[in-house]
């Protein structure tokens, strides 16, 4: 499919832009050697480390080495985790904790959390949005409206803190955080899912309202279709396009939200890794995490586009522009 090929091309270019941005901008934060060894490190140790890491090479050479590594699935070696302190030649296996491993180890947890948060939010939001659209201006509509707006207005990490205090500390129903069995995911998913819940419910509601006002709904009624079929088949499928768009959008935002929520809950996901990398100035991990997130986002966008074509026959993969 040429469209998919072109899309993939764009994505690759965007990734390269992100890679370059992250690589060069990342170098503005200072000498990675000092970052690793601390302010009181001796210059010998620093120099040794720079040699170990190849930081004394020209920047462009480092860049090409980095990009070259990326192509082979090598995101470099963490500054913080593991043992970059030792000269590489001392390791039989080349040494270093590969960032790729760190990222891949954290990715499933984030996806798990995101899937639970988004899945729950989506299911609830669709029901809420449809209900509100079916009874506009009723108390249901008002309730859905205020609830959904409330859940987009809340600061996620604050909600997380409040949830911990309430449900874990005072009521003791759920764990305060950490990663483990299914009930560990509930509180973080609640904190993380609030925003998508609100956004999707809002969009569903207004899209459904719009669709229900369209002539084809009147026509469907006129031919004697039962109302539930009109809502669930006719209107919902057409309302699906904005809902899918916003869901894709929210999935992207979810990753950002995860940064804070994972930190609050001690959830070992990519967001947590990212914050740690930020705090530790662990540049390779930071780069790796950002790239992982960017890749994720690009994949999500592609999925959203594919879903479009299912929902809207006017859009075909070969013709879609923008």
């Amino acid at each position: 499919m040429p469209y998919l090929v072109r899309r993939a091309g764009h994505s690759a270019i965007m990734l390269l832009v992100v890679v370059s941005f992250v690589f060069f901008a990342g170098r503005m934060i200072g000498d990675p050697a000092i970052v690793m060894l601390g302010a009181s490190a001796s210059d010998t140790a620093l120099e040794q480390l720079r040699n170990n890491l190849g930081l004394n090479d020209p920047l462009l050479m480092q860049y090409f080495r980095y990009v070259g590594g990326l192509v082979q699935g090598d995101l470099g070696v963490s500054f913080r985790y593991g043992f970059a302190q030792m000269p590489a030649e001392r390791f039989m296996d080349g040494g270093g904790t590969p960032v790729m491993g760190l990222v891949l180890a954290r990715l499933p947890q984030t996806l798990y959390l995101a899937a639970v948060a988004l899945g729950g939010a989506l299911a609830l939001a669709l029901v809420m949005g449809c209900l509100a659209a079916m009874y506009p201006r009723s108390w249901i509509d008002h309730l859905v409206n205020v609830l959904s707006l409330a859940s987009v207005s809340v600061v996620q990490f604050w909600l997380g803190l409040v949830l911990i205090v309430l449900f874990a500390v005072h009521l003791g129903w759920l764990p305060t955080g950490g990663y483990g069995s299914w009930y560990h995911v509930i509180l973080p998913a609640l904190a993380l899912g609030a925003r998508p819940l609100g956004r999707v419910a809002q969009v569903t509601r207004s899209a459904m309202l719009d669709e229900m006002a369209r002539p084809y709904v009147a026509a469907a009624r006129a031919k004697g279709l039962p109302e539930h079929r009109i809502v669930s088949v006719h209107a919902l499928k057409n309302a699906g396009i904005p809902v899918v768009t916003i869901t894709g959008d929210e999935l992207v935002q979810l990753v950002t939200g995860a940064i804070l929520v994972e930190t609050v809950f001690g959830w070992p996901g990519i967001g947590h890794l990212l914050v740690e990398a930020l705090n530790n100035r662990d540049l390779p991990v930071l780069q790796g995490a950002i790239l992982a997130v960017a890749t994720l986002v690009i994949v999500v966008n592609l999925l959203v586009d594919i879903t479009y074509t299912y929902l809207n026959p006017k859009v075909s993969l070969s013709s879609r522009e923008n």
Partner: protein, 348 residues
């Protein structure tokens, strides 16, 4: 000259039993809405009836309430939010007082509706086949395949070429005329007795309009359906309808057989409308324009709604709302001076 032409275009008026009881009659139907500017009366005390096999034209400009009334009959406008009063009798039963569930059974089965903008009235994300067959499948409990076969049959009836291969097509792949044919096929799926066509050809070109009107007449005749044709185009009504109702600002101005309506228009509005139309057969020095503009529903003048634009208006018209009065058999008009005007025109 060849098959493309027909000697007679007019296919109405034949075989309608004038003495037969109407299959549907509307009595004193009023529909009102609330708007930000206060309540409005979109349909005000409208009564008419239609017999089996008959074509009834409903003529009116935008905002005259011609569509609102029919959407209320179809149950597409409900109370609330609308305020509805009056009766719509189908086989002697008032359908307005029926519970929703029962009314839904009537739709499609007893009466069906087609809309002005067919493309908008078709669901853009479902295939033509699904849309034509779904109601048959759900209401008649037919199997998927049987329903699709039915859809093909219907599409053949409305002369959609290579029907079977188009089952999988989506509405946007069809032209305007084709979409209208699909709409008609959808409406016919349950074999209704009354077909309401709400400006079915307004959005179409002249040549396609002709095709669709012919098709409507053909299916009406074949099935012995009654057809309610809503339009603002006097020409379309003149060619197709047996009788017509002229609406102005939510009220009935005049109702008559086609011949009476055009020969002896007895309401000043009908008269003025006929005179204002440019003619294809002659170029006039000036058109007889009706002054002013139709009132908005929120500001209907007191008394007779047409009064401010009427050349016959008298002080009485501002105070007294004229009632619809019988002038002759099948001819009524709502004007204080209807008889005088009828007299005047028939002498002409």
């Amino acid at each position: 000259m060849n098959a493309m032409t027909e000697a007679r275009t007019r296919v109405t008026g034949d075989r309608v039993d004038v003495s037969a009881a109407p299959i549907m009659s509307v009595e004193g139907l009023s529909v009102g809405f609330d708007t930000p500017h206060g309540p409005v009366q979109a349909v005000d005390n409208v009564s008419w009836s239609i017999r089996k096999g008959e074509t009834l034209g409903i003529i009116g400009e935008s905002g005259s309430g011609k569509s609102v009334g029919l959407e209320t009959i179809m149950g597409l406008i409900t109370s609330p939010p609308a305020r509805i009063s009056g009766q719509v009798l189908l086989d002697g039963q008032d359908i307005l007082s029926m519970p929703q569930r029962q009314r839904r059974q009537l739709r499609g089965d007893r009466m069906a509706m087609i809309f002005q903008d067919a493309l908008a009235a078709l669901n853009p994300s479902l295939t033509i086949g699904t849309q034509i067959s779904e109601v048959y499948r759900i209401r008649r409990g037919a199997s998927r395949q049987a329903a699709l076969d039915k859809a093909v049959e219907l599409m053949d009836q409305v002369k959609i070429p290579s029907a079977r291969s188009r089952l999988k097509a989506y509405p946007h792949e069809f032209s305007g005329g084709m979409c209208q044919r699909v709409m008609i096929a959808m409406a016919l799926a349950m074999d209704p007795e009354i077909l309401i066509a709400d400006e079915p050809t307004t959005a179409l070109d002249v040549t396609v309009q002709r095709q669709i009107m012919d098709l409507l007449q053909e299916v009406r005749r074949e099935r012995g359906m009654s057809l309610i044709l809503v339009t603002h185009d006097l020409g379309v009504v003149a060619e197709c309808a047996d009788r017509a109702v002229v609406m102005y600002s939510g009220r009935m101005a005049e109702t008559a057989t086609m011949r009476d309506l055009f020969r002896t228009p007895s309401h000043p509005y009908t008269r003025a409308l006929l005179q204002a139309m440019p003619r294809v057969d002659a170029r006039l020095e000036r058109l007889q324009a009706i002054p002013g503009t139709p009132p908005t529903l929120s500001h209907i003048p007191s008394g007779c709604a047409f009064r401010p634009r009427c050349t016959f208006a008298q002080p009485r018209c501002a105070e007294e709302k004229p009632e619809l009065r019988m002038l002759a058999a099948e001819h009524s008009a709502a004007c204080h001076f209807a008889e005088a005007i009828r007299e005047e025109t028939s002498h002409d």
